[in-house]
Every structure is written in C-alpha cells, then in structure tokens.
Symmetry: C2
Subunit: 381 residues, 2 copies
C-alpha cells in the first residue's frame, strides 16, 4: 500500500536546531533561559499580552490558573463537556466540581445561552474553550462574569493567531480577553514544541503570584531581579517552566508564524472549497470570530457512518481521526453528573472527524483527500 | 577581569542535536515518542527498574508519587528540612502536613535515627533525599516503613548512578529501593535535558495507575496497546510527560553516562585530594554509599564566613554557590512548624557552599579553583 497521509506531522519552520544549539552554548538550558525570554518578549511585544509565561503544557497553564484563582474543594467551574480532559482535570485537582455545558448545534463550542442557568453561589469560574481556534462569544461570557463576579479562563489551546470582535467593534486576540488564558504548543497545534504551553495573565493582580507558582512556590524571579537577597518557599507551586531547549524550538516557530499560517490557511481553504457542497456539517465561523486554520472537520450522520468513513479513508491512504468524548459521560465523572442530556456534545463525540491538516500536505495530497471524501459520499449517500 | 569559571555549564555528550532532528523526522515530537521509548528501555534494560516514566521535571515525578499513594488532606509526610521546596510542595499540593527531620552532623542528608519519633497514626510516607547523590541509610528507613506500614518515596533528584549497600550485602541502585522514586535531569544534574525528570515505580501495584495519571488521567496508554477501543477520562492526572525533543536530548546523555561520570569523578577526586587537609567539613561518603560525583561542597564556619568565601572566589573568577534554605523556617511553612530546632539543617543553610562541577572544567581551572580556596583559608584562618 502507498504511504499514509498522516493526520499530523511536525513541521520544522527552519532554525529550530540552530536555536537549540545556541541555547546550549548560552550556558543555560533549564527554564527561563535565553529563548524563554525571547518567547516571552514575542508575546509581550508582538501579541501585547500583559504577562505571558511559558509552561510545560497547556494542562500546566490551566493548573496554574486554577491555583491563581484559588480554587477550593466544592467551588464550581463551568465549561463545555466536549473538550479535552485537562480543561476539567486542572480544576478537579484543586477540588472543584465541574458543571458541564452543551455544545452549539452549529459548532462544537459551548452554547453561551446555557451558562447562566448553571451559575450558583458556589460558581467561581467559567472556562470557555475556543474549539478549532474559533472564538466563543466572549461578550456574552464576560457579561455573565461581571454580573456574577466570576473569573473567566480562556482555554485557548487551539486558538493561536485567532480573534474575536465584540459589540464595541474592537478586534481582540483570543487569550487576551478573560482574566487568564492558556495556549498549547503540542505537536498537533499550529505552533509547536512537541509538548508545551503558555499562561497569559490579563488581570494584573495575578502577575506577581503567577511567577511564584511557576517557580515551585518560590520568589526566585524576584531574587534574580535583585528585589530580595535570597529566595525561599513562599507559596504552593510546581515546576511549570519548560526547558530552554523547548523554548528555542518554539521561538523558531513563532518567528515563522506567517509562513506556517499561510500554509495551513491554504489547505483549509482548499478543503472548504471542495467539501462545502457535501451533505455534512463543516466548520462554521461566526461573524465575531476568525479562522486560524487549526482544524478542518466534518460532522457525519452518526458513530457508524464515522466508523465507515475513517476506515474508507484509511484504506485509501488518508488518516482521519475522531476527537473528544463527552466528559459528563466519562468513567471518571459520569457518576457525579446529574445535569441535562447534552445532545450536541454527544453528537460531536460520535460523529465529528478531523482531516489531516499540517503545513507539509502537498497539493496532490489534498486533492487525493478531498476526492476520496467525495467518493465516500457518492458511494454511501 | 578574566572570564568566570561558572558553577555549572551544560555539557553536550555528542548526539543531542542529531537525535532531536531524528525525533522530528520520526513524525512525533510530543510525549512518548521514539526517544522517550529509548529512554524508558534504557532504564528498564540497563538500570533494571520495574517501571520508569519520563516526566517534565523531578517535581512532577514527586507530584505523581503523591497522587499514587493517594495523599489526602491531613496526611503526614516525613522528610528532611534541608531539601528543595519541591520535595515538600508535591505533597502539600495534595493537602499533606510535612514533618521535618534534621540533617546529620557529618552529612546534609536526614538523620534516620530521628524519624521514628515523628511517626503518628496520620503518617503516610517517608521521603528520604539522597543529598549530593549520597545514599540515605535505606535499611533503617525501609525497616520503619515496614513496621508502621508507610510508603517510602526516594527523592533521588541528584542520585543517578549511585548505590546503597544494605545489611544483606547487596548493592542496590538508588531509586530502586523505595516504593517509588524520582530523579531529576535539570541542567545542574549529572545527566541533563534542561528541565526533566523520571518517576520510578518499584511497587507493582502502582504501575497501571502511574500510566494513567501521567496521561492526564486517561487510559491512553492502554488504548495504544489495543487493550481498550477508545480512551477517556478515568482518574485525576496531569500532563506529566515531556516532549520527545527532551527525551532525544536526554538519550544522547544516557548513552554517554560513563564518559560524563568519568569526567565528573576526576574533578571530584581532584577537589578531594587538594582540599581534604583544610579546616572545613567536606563531603562524607558512608560505607553503605557510593559517590556519583554530583557535588563537591565545603561547610564553613558560619554565614558570614561563607559570604566572604563566595565573594573572595568571585573576585578571583570562580563562581561558587550556596544551597537550600531550611524549609521549616521558610516564609510559607514556618508558621505551621512546631517541632524541634533543626540545628544541622540550619547550619548547612548558613554555611554550605558548592564548588563548580561540570565535565568541561579543565585541569588549569580546577587547579586555579583549589589554589584560590587554599589562599582563602591561609588568609582568614
């Protein structure tokens, strides 16, 4: 059989290995070395984030957020059920109770209109997940947060280089809107470092403590700035900072964001053009959102059709994959869940399938992929 | 002024960059890729660890251990006060109360004879720290664990390639003796990946759950072995696995352990030979322990002498550094501490200083270092 077109393939933007070598020569490859600073500067100078801190994963950035907002046992956190386990686990590790929201009919992101009914006096935070890099309606969410005095933590794992335009007409970068936000640089994301993440601190009151929690609960950052004469244990915390080797790899990617994004967007646009006429739900970009070409998916009839679809493509050299399992039905959490049926979350659990999307898919490959998909629909519809 | 001899300098063993490139070409640079497997195989085939799992840091390996032994709020954990904050924080994050033990007069490791008085019905674990890679008396500790039904988690952060010989005459690798153990590959350790760690599972009952906790509380490892047909959320957990880029770097180091260790041991032996006649405490290796040349330190008269010593060396081009602050006196924990004075822990806090020790220190440099130290003692003693 011919070689499979993989669902994902890490893309080298150019200088990754050169920068890693340079990091080693600099004499410091642990956290917060030369390239970590370059990445931090990128996010403060180009992205204009108030404070951005590299982490070992998006999971870890979410865990930092849970510690920063001081989650205590019994606190409630509202989030979609159709998301990665880490969105929930980060808060469960601190004792939170999760209240799950259904997805929208037209998009796997959570239905903002269902959030308010879940708010109780115990609610501490809302965690919108920008699924596929497509913005949640942040005005609706921030209004609720203001009304009920809640924190908003954007799970922007998939949302680099994506935006939201609110009622005021301003176009805001995803990750810059909530009190805190978390990005992922996992190899399946647009900008990668294998594993890796970023915490964004938009509410200034969290900045000082974010540095402490990230440095194992010590005031080491203050020490290196000369603000204290020795550093010690001042808070809970963990080792959230990545090796500078990871930052060096990441910086080479960040420098080439436009190159990477142009390639991804061309592939996404090709899929859209070729597949929009099919009898299947495809990505929906609301007027308030942008498309960062993180993902192209189809929502099929049901789990059986998806099973056949994935195998049909596999037999023809194309690797397509399903995505999340509704968290409210998970082995770990289902016994705690007493809420509504979440029909759209379950629908996407059963029927959503993602197509290969990485910068090195050739024109021949994308043509093959869309042709195979059209053949499937012609054969089985 | 001439260039400083740094306290630490990352050492490239040879194939680090080649392996990183190879990892990228393999098509998978997230966790548990090609080089993670090679590292795991090294630890199972060469080190004969029952189960070894790379983590993003030693801190994270300790956090996995705390979750595995199911630490609950109020559980007590016994450890030295003279250790890194992560030894304690990993357990405090799960709600543990820490009972601190003093160091020994002749060595910064904890005084095993003081442990039993701290054991209560709430005690769940003992965490011996093999300071400077020198073994704690593990027979004494394992006997107590057996007597009181406690877990032992070896903090082997500094203890790669080091051994303990027990009453039975068998020479055992550090990290293979407790129920669980944690190693560090931080750039200041013998074997490095910038940031990085390893959890060792010696008690088989923890193996299955260790894989789940490390994979964000999912049964993903079972899924990839074909044991379940989809994977989902089954437990708490985090993203404890490092990028394969880190594993690729690490594997190049592990392959060259002998080269690295020979270089370090030669420098350590030189220090020993040159400095053993000084009027200062130098490393002590008990009969039951080996020396892995992780660290060469001096214990000076007091904090003022150490201050002068560090500056004297700095003015002459040598970077020496102090080490831990007693955790029982930290800003974070001192108000919780009602135990004894820990005089040796405080002594090492004030008076221990570490000399540069990394494979690339030349003969000229080590000669300079020891000469400057002798000059200091001749001038001020």
């Amino acid at each position: 059989m011919e070689k499979m077109i993989p669902f994902n393939k890490p893309f080298l933007a150019g200088k990754e290995l050169e920068y890693i070598q340079d990091s080693v020569v600099s004499g410091k490859i642990s956290g917060d070395g030369l390239y970590t600073k370059k990445c931090h500067n990128f996010f403060s100078d180009v992205y204009l984030f108030k404070k951005a801190l590299l982490t070992t994963s998006c999971t870890d950035a979410l865990e930092m957020a849970a510690i920063l907002i001081d989650i205590k046992p019994g606190d409630e956190v509202i989030m979609p059920s159709y998301t990665f386990v880490s969105t929930a686990n980060a808060f469960v590790l601190r004792g939170a109770v999760i209240k799950f929201v259904d997805s929208k009919k037209e998009h796997p992101g959570m239905d903002e209109s269902l959030i308010e009914t879940l708010i109780t006096p115990k609610t501490k935070a809302i965690v919108p997940v920008h699924y596929a890099g497509v913005a949640c309606d942040m005005d609706a969410i921030m209004d609720l947060a203001k009304k009920y005095d809640l924190y908003v933590i954007e799970d922007a794992a998939q949302a680099i280089d994506s935006f939201y335009t609110g009622k005021d007409g301003l176009k805001r970068r995803l990750g810059s809107i909530g009190h805190l936000a978390a990005f992922s640089f996992h190899e399946t994301k647009n900008i990668i470092s294998g594993e890796g993440g970023l915490l964004v601190v938009n509410d200034e009151k969290f900045i000082a403590r974010s540095e402490i929690i990230r440095e194992k609960g010590t005031n080491r950052s203050s020490f290196f700035r000369g603000e204290v004469d020795k550093y010690g244990w001042v808070d809970i915390g963990s080792s959230f900072l990545p090796s500078d080797i990871i930052a060096a790899f990441l910086f080479a990617q960040l420098e080439n964001m436009k190159l990477i994004q142009d390639k991804r967007k061309a592939i996404w646009a090709f899929y859209w053009e070729q597949l929009k006429g099919l009898n299947a739900q495809i990505p929906f970009i609301p007027d308030y959102a942008t498309n960062n070409a993180h993902m192209f998916y189809l929502v099929l009839e049901d789990v059986d059709v998806r099973y056949n679809f994935i195998n049909y493509l596999k037999d023809r050299g194309v690797h397509s994959v399903f995505h999340y399992q509704s968290l409210h039905k998970s082995a770990y959490y289902s016994t705690n869940y007493s809420g509504e049926n979440l029909v759209y979350s379950d629908k996407y659990t059963d029927a959503l399938v993602r197509l290969p999307l990485h910068p090195s898919i050739s024109l021949e490959e994308r043509t093959l992929i869309t042709q195979v998909i059209k053949d499937f629909f012609n054969t089985f519809s």
